[in-house]
Amino acid sequence: MTPIATAMTVFAGGMFFLAFLMSSRMRLGSLVTAFRVQSALLALLAIAAAFVTGEFQLFIVAGLIVLIKVWFIPSFLLRAARVSGASERLQSYARPATLSFVAACLAIVALIGARGLLPVGADYFVLAASFGIVLVGLLMLVSRKDMFGEGIGFFVMENGIFTFGLALTHGMPFLFEIGSFFDLLAFFILITVFTHRAQDENASVATDDLRTLTD
């Protein structure tokens, strides 16, 4: 294994470890910090991929990840929470220990899934880590009971998908990357608009208050 391949495995492993920790964190501040570090590791992964492929544009992608996911989204998410007066304490349907156990099970599923699904040249552990991050992101989406938790769950899942893309393709075409970052930014803006409105309407960002539309 080359040093760059080893570095990529370490970065992806670190990203999964952070996702695992995030699955049971119940404080907004620590969740956002973990997401920040996870995104920084994603940027390092993109730089490593740039060295492998010699594609200069991957350095720009890494720069955009730092700008959008390490700085902009975490900072403005915390700011939105502070301005709207949302609680720092987040809510979940399950206890932290249960969530950690489920996340560990998902890691096993990811390891098996990566082996069985893809007879490809990409590094097995990086692929398994990306699957794991996507699955833990989905776990956060379904287990959280507040808008911030669900929103961060989505971003974690998105980091996992991005890792998968980097591991598999060593970067998609640049124009496409720019477009997907634009969509991500628009998604983030909508999240902050809705958390603000929920705080105004219900004095809470709990999604338990959003359960009136049933059949």
Partner: protein, 490 residues
Amino acid sequence: MAISLLLVSCLVLATVPFFMRGLRFIFGAAFLASSGVFALSLYTAIPLFFGAPSFENGYWYLDTFAALMVLLIGFIQWTATITSIHYLGEEVRTGEIALPAVRRYFFFVGLFVCSMLLTIVSNNLGFMWIALEATTLTTTLLVAFYAHKGSLEAAWKYLILCSTGISLGLIGLFLTYYAASSSGLLHGLGAISWTNLLTVAPSLPPHLMQIAFVFILIGYGTKVGLVPMHAWLPDAHSRAPSPISGMLSGILLNAALFGILRFRVLVDGSLASSVWTSELFLVFGMLSCIIPAAFILLQADYKRLLAYSSIEHMGLIVFSAGLGTVGAVASVIHIVGHALAKSALFFGAGNILLRFKSTKFDRVGQVMRTLPYTGALFLTLILMLLAIPPSPLFGSELLLISQSVVLHPIFATIVLLALAIIFAGFIRLIIPFLFSSAPVSPKSEVTVGEKWGWSHTAIALHLILLVAFSVFLMTPMASPILERIITAIS
């Protein structure tokens, strides 16, 4: 050139009304811009039905199937704008919304139409993905347009579920890119160009393309409203302003389905057979017919009733697409018939909501007496939706059932049973809704009678087109055009 102009005209629709000062100017600008979009969609699409070759370059691709979708989007956004003018005018008059909200409304409508058209005309599957995600982002604030209870909930569910679905679809896109680039067939942006992929489809690794298609089907299928990924649809369609519900149901679902059908051609090419994708379509299509049947039977809200019916009809379209060439013909007819009928029904539902101030069946009654024009149009459209001749849906459902009886008799029986339940559910709910003399909510002061307005003209246009489409299908002109469309998706 025409395609670029069409997209620019959507941006005009988004921006010009935004900078107008008075309500009359906002409406005037919106109407003119929307008419421009419609005229350009006619100019772009019509020649392809009469033998003009498909248009393609690095960014755009327009074949007969895409032209059909462009035409549907162009027409329905136009009638939706006309209906919106009536609808928002009333709401401004009653103080429900203010002028800035009207500006915001048309701004997002313009962006929404633009992103839908981009989804259809993109020659690049990556740009198609970006545009499809953009349709969610531009409509989320339209779903949350009102400060009503439930609007935020519907918009939040819509945003999270659809964005998650589309993100999972991205995995399918990565796999397709990898399949094309790793085997040295294509490189860079060209590796996700649809026309390039089409030429190398037989050489793409089948195993990878199958996995990619599963992610695309689940991801884009969420946006189509296929069961079990449909949870957002009844909420978003029932809470959005009615003209928006009409556009969501009539054209957005089809735009997402368009993405699935495009991918399907690649997977079928890679597998050298359509059996595998057809089986997936049959299962998802059948599920999407069965589950809404139960909800339709016990529905208490007329906008949700129409939304569940959309899930059912998308299920029928997907089911038909799994039935070979004859099924493909049925699905194309069904796409057109459902888009025209359902969007007009939502426009009608908007008129009813304006008068009765409720979407609940138990708070609305005597629609035929209170709103005679809307009631008559609504009843006729419901009959059209239930595939009563001369509805084109009669032809498509007859085709799909007769084909599935031959190919998959058990599936055919289940779908027929679901259709029967849905028919009974609609009749049970709609007849009292239109004709009963049961008192409506005691607090409401509902005035009786209405004047023929622009919204009625828009709905009537849909009705006329539905009948004209049925007549057209019986002419010799229909088969070569249908043949060209089917070739584009098989």
